[in-house]
């Protein structure tokens, strides 16, 4: 958990992600995209492809129905 607290930006739990893509629509900066890999449930998961553009607004996290995203500033 210490590792989590020192991270800044978005942190996506890929095992929780069901690939609904709502976070991608919510992000104003195009940080997120779908991975070409799948998780253990067989879903394509979201990942931060441009973490340098993230403004830590948290809109992806509040849009996520599976609460798979955490945001740190």
């Amino acid at each position: 958990m210490v590792e989590v607290e020192t991270v800044t930006g978005v942190r996506i739990d890929k095992e929780r992600c069901k690939g609904c893509e709502l976070c991608i629509g919510a992000c104003p900066k195009g940080v997120l995209a779908m991975s070409t890999k799948i998780n253990s449930k067989g879903y394509f998961y979201a990942e931060a492809v441009h973490p340098e553009n993230c403004i830590k607004c948290g809109l992806c996290a509040i849009s996520c129905p599976d609460v798979a995203i955490e945001v740190y500033r």
């Binding site: 991270v7 690939g19 709502l22 996290a61 129905p65 609460v67 955490e70």
Partner: protein, 252 residues
């Protein structure tokens, strides 16, 4: 150490839900759990789960839960709240549960002014049983029991619960919000927080309807389903606060 912008609320259990990808239930669960955390009421909160997709809600919150029979969540919540007025009681119901078989319970609980909170998820369809027509299904909407679309001449128009309940004279807080965009999700959080605050202050019956998506039974991608709420549902189901205990109804 970095500052937390968003983290999983404590009142939300650390499990993966059974909901379909893109279902709004998860968003509303998270909002309810956040409100419980922020008001510090986790130890004295009791939820009432309905029958429907959210029947397993008791697995997803770290609070005590009842499981009510179909539509009867407001009756169970009435019992809990009257027996233990110190508890914070909320019923979490879908539209097939609340607006159909549970119509009598919700109307009379509202009319008696029972001081608990009802979270009403309106996704215009029966979800768990396979997408049948609900009383809230939109005109022309194709479901498994209305294959030619809902015919309003035969079945009538969708029931608008907020308008119906706000016509009752008894004091209450009645609001309709939506979960189709980040801005609306923030407004939904405000309305649900207000409802819980009013209950903590022991003021009145509180009811928040949330327009939600059902991508699976609508046969749409989650993002398309959010657009459908904006384009099809909002003209028929206007958002806003329909009744507040001070009497100052304001539409957003």
């Amino acid at each position: 150490m970095s500052k937390v912008v968003f983290k999983r609320p404590k009142a939300l259990a650390d499990v993966v839900t059974h909901y379909c990808p893109g279902c709004s239930h998860g968003i509303v669960h998270r909002i309810v759990a956040e409100c419980i955390d922020e008001l510090g009421i986790q130890e004295r909160t009791v939820g009432v789960a309905p029958v429907g997709c959210s029947v397993l809600a008791y697995n997803y919150f770290n609070v005590d839960f009842f499981e009510a029979s179909h539509g009867r969540a407001p009756a169970v919540a009435t019992g809990a709240k009257r027996a233990r007025p110190d508890l914070i009681v909320f019923a979490y119901q879908g539209d097939g549960d609340l607006a159909s078989i549970g119509m009598a319970e919700i109307v009379h609980a509202c009319n008696r002014g029972e001081k608990f909170t009802v979270i009403f998820i309106n996704n215009t369809v029966y979800g768990m049983t396979g997408g049948q027509m609900a009383p809230t299904t939109m005109p022309g909407q194709v479901t498994t029991t209305s294959p030619y679309g809902r015919d309003v001449n035969q079945i009538g128009w969708p029931i608008r619960m907020c308008e119906l309940l706000s016509s009752l004279k008894t004091d209450g807080f009645i609001a309709r919000t939506s979960a189709h965009s980040p801005a609306e999700i923030i407004k939904t959080k405000k309305a649900i927080k207000k409802a819980f605050e009013l209950q903590v202050a022991n003021r009145c019956f509180t009811f928040v309807e949330v327009l939600s998506t059902c991508p699976t039974n609508w046969g749409m991608m989650p993002i398309q389903a959010q657009k459908r709420i904006e384009e099809e549902l909002l003209p028929y189901y206007p958002l806003g606060v329909f009744k507040s205990p001070n009497g100052d109804a304001s539409k957003s």
